[in-house]
């Protein structure tokens, strides 16, 4: 039997949280300049190298951030948030949970029959602006931004003297569901706020998809999108104001997507 090594009573590994951004590059030409560069972006720069590969600290932090994203991927939006913002909830045709949602985008683009009935019963037709919220690929994105962006959009639309439809939430939602909603409610402008797929160590990015009178068969060419809505990207308050402005531009030109680009 091998001899047991004696444990060293002096050895103690007791680490602080490593998720702090500090350069792992040694001996930069301009240390103050390097700090300024790193402060200008959330990207992983100033990381240095071991030969042509990463330093150990930078590599382990990357792996830790990937772990966070993986652990967070399959969560649902908190029902209490939807209640707080008075959003009723409907579902697409996905009924087999997140796994089916990931593998069957076609089902996530269509409202269930129950959803259509409920929307018909609760939402007035032909509003100037209809807002819809979808979970998409990140419940965390909806949770992180909705409290801020939703009131800004509602207030902005009403201040502009436009009618604002009754907003609601769609679970297991894909962008293409806009066509079904457009057919059902016939809004002038439809806004879909939807969670983006999570980035590394960060899952709070929301997108706003918008379309002028969406109809079955519409593609992304008829839509506009504002992405990266979160506190560290496009701030949700500013994003809300921009969305309202774009809705007015769409109404002025009666167009969205490529057609709107050509018209402006």
């Amino acid at each position: 039997m091998p001899e047991q090594p004696a444990t060293d009573p002096q050895l103690s590994i007791d680490l602080p949280d490593p998720a702090l951004r500090r350069p792992t590059l040694s001996h930069p030409a301009d240390p103050a300049g390097l700090h300024a560069l790193m402060a200008a972006t959330p990207a992983r720069i100033g990381v240095g190298r071991a030969g042509p590969r990463y330093t150990t600290a930078a590599l382990l932090l990357f792996q830790a951030d990937h772990a966070l994203t993986q652990d967070a991927l399959y969560r649902e939006v908190e029902p209490s948030l939807l209640a707080e913002l008075a959003l009723f909830s409907v579902a697409t045709q996905v009924c087999g949970g997140k796994q089916e949602y990931l593998l069957r985008p076609d089902l996530g683009r269509k409202l269930s029959e129950n959803a259509k009935e409920e929307i018909r019963a609760r939402c007035p037709q032909r509003p100037a602006v209809q807002l819809v919220v979808g979970d998409g690929l990140s419940a965390a994105a909806v949770e992180a931004n909705l409290r801020q962006i939703l009131p800004v959009i509602r207030h902005g639309v009403l201040s502009a003297g436009l009618s604002f439809g009754v907003p609601f939430f769609v679970s297991h939602c894909r962008v293409g569901v806009m066509n079904d909603i457009g057919e059902l409610l016939q809004p002038d402008v439809l806004i879909l706020l939807i969670g983006e797929r999570p980035g590394l160590g960060r899952a709070e990015s929301l997108s706003a998809y918008m379309a002028w009178r969406p109809q079955p068969g519409d593609t992304d060419a008829r839509r506009d999108v504002l992405c990266n809505i979160f506190a560290g990207g496009t701030n949700p308050l500013e994003a809300g104001a921009y969305v309202v402005q774009l809705a007015q531009t769409m109404r002025a030109h009666q167009a969205s997507g490529v057609a709107l680009k050509l018209a402006t």
């Binding site: 301009d30 990207a43 030969g51």
Partner: protein, 455 residues
């Protein structure tokens, strides 16, 4: 038409070429989603036995979408060289595979034969090839192109410097750009995916990247990957662009969903020839990726590999500077896991080269696919062995704007040193003059973005 075989005592029959092509593919979640995948592994194997016997002329006469209905089909069929086609049209798909792999078949012969191949033939032979077949056959062919520098030469590996930023901050983008340059990334292009793809935002990013190119006299080209119409507007107004970019689909309906057409791309090329600040003659940059047609409901019942091959057939018309598949970006409903992404990356690279294109690959994955960074590093090694022209360079492979992970500034540096490859020649001289590279290896001062704060 009878398409039938016995296999292990059981009979398998396929109603037509479309169904046969779908069932002969390697397992992909996207083909299953479209209802085109083989029901069993044995049915897949049987489909390949039948496909191997199919003469190439049948594939020419049965394009995925009829000639009259689809301009991508028309572009591909009209460009076919009748003499090159006449030489190969009676070969079977299986024969084409063996000819591509044969020791007696040279790169020049493959380039000539490619003029006689349609996308459907290229897709068919790809279905019969193992991963190492795809690597080996692709490695025979080099396709180079020139804009402000030369990409795709033997013994070279390039890197797109992709300094994306979540708010398009100029100082943030510049900081990432410097980090990449310090690792030798940027010889394929300095290419930004903008958050705000409006005219003024795109023009501003073109101005800034062009200013860095001027200030440091970098032999490369810049590009902002907005919709091509926005870039055209910028060019016409005098903004400095080195390359024009657009995403492509393999069917007319797919391109409709991208808001483009052959006429529009023709105009873009003419405008680029007239107004890009670079000497050319290759001015276009295209991205593709399996699954985008199905995603836009524009697949006409065909498998994603064949539709991807058709993208390359369209791209070829424009003699682009570079083309890359963004192979893991689309998500798990089309490419489910690391194994499917790796397979598709090797397939796309091979098909692009067989179409005569200067191919790179964005080897990447999203966080909802069953893949990780190790899978992407593996794929990059395989593609370097296959003679891939370039990879993406992103800070540690973590794109802070597009929310996906791909290859890093470090990765291209490591692959160059691992395989004994150099950057594009003009760019290598520039790195040597600055003292960041010596004899193909990074020097002690490389890897430090603050190096570029001197000027």
């Amino acid at each position: 038409m009878l398409l039938r075989t016995r296999l292990h005592g059981k009979q398998y029959e396929f109603p037509d070429v479309r169904v046969l092509m779908g069932k002969a593919n390697e397992e992909k979640s996207g083909d299953r989603l479209a209802g085109l995948a083989a029901e069993t592994a044995a049915e897949r194997a049987a489909a390949r036995f039948v496909l191997a016997e199919l003469p190439l002329w049948v594939l020419r006469e049965q394009p995925a979408v009829p000639y009259e209905q689809d301009e991508v089909t028309r572009v591909i069929q009209d460009a076919l060289d009748p003499a090159a086609y006449a030489e190969i049209k009676d070969w079977s798909v299986g024969q084409l595979r063996e000819w591509l792999l044969a020791d007696t078949t040279t790169a020049a012969q493959i380039r000539r034969a490619a003029d006689g191949l349609t996308a459907e033939m290229i897709s068919a032979v790809t279905k019969l090839m193992s991963n190492l077949d795809l690597i080996y056959a692709a490695s025979k062919v080099r396709v180079s192109a020139h804009c402000n520098n030369t990409i795709g030469l033997e013994g070279r590996l390039s890197s797109r410097n992709q300094p994306n930023h979540p708010t398009d901050s100029l100082t943030g983008i510049r900081a990432e750009l410097y980090e990449g340059l310090a690792y030798g990334s940027g010889d394929s292009v300095i290419g930004i995916n903008p958050v705000d793809d409006s005219y003024s935002s795109v023009a501003r990013l073109l101005e800034m990247t062009h200013a860095v190119i001027q200030q440091w006299q970098i032999p490369t080209q810049n590009c902002v990957l907005a919709h091509v119409t926005t870039q055209m507007k910028c060019l016409a107004a005098g903004a400095p662009a080195g390359l024009l970019f657009q995403s492509l689909a393999g069917t007319q309906r797919g391109n409709d969903s991208f808001g483009i057409s052959v006429t529009l791309l023709d105009e873009a090329q003419t405008l680029a020839q007239r107004h890009c600040f670079t000497p050319g003659p290759n001015y276009l940059y295209f991205e593709t990726g399996q699954g985008s047609e199905l995603s836009a409901d524009a697949h006409h019942g065909w498998d994603q590999l064949t539709l991807e091959a058709r993208c390359y057939g369209l791209a070829r018309r424009y003699r682009p500077f570079q083309v890359n598949t963004v192979v893991g970006f689309i998500g798990p409903e089309y490419l489910y896991d690391a194994r499917q992404i790796q397979r598709a990356g090797l397939e796309d690279h091979f098909m692009g080269k067989l179409s005569g294109l200067p191919m790179g690959v964005d080897a990447c994955y999203t966080n909802h696919a069953r893949a990780d960074q190790n899978a992407i590093e593996n794929l990059a090694v395989l593609l370097t062995a296959a003679g891939c022209n370039y990879f993406m360079g992103v800070p540690m492979g973590d794109d802070s704007m597009l929310s996906y992970q791909c290859t890093s500034y470090h990765d291209t540096a490591a692959l160059r040193q691992l395989f004994g490859l150099r950057p594009a020649p003009e760019f290598e001289r520039w790195l040597e003059d600055l003292g960041l590279m010596h004899a193909g290896r990074l020097t002690a001062r490389a890897g430090d973005p603050s190096f570029f704060l001197r000027r």
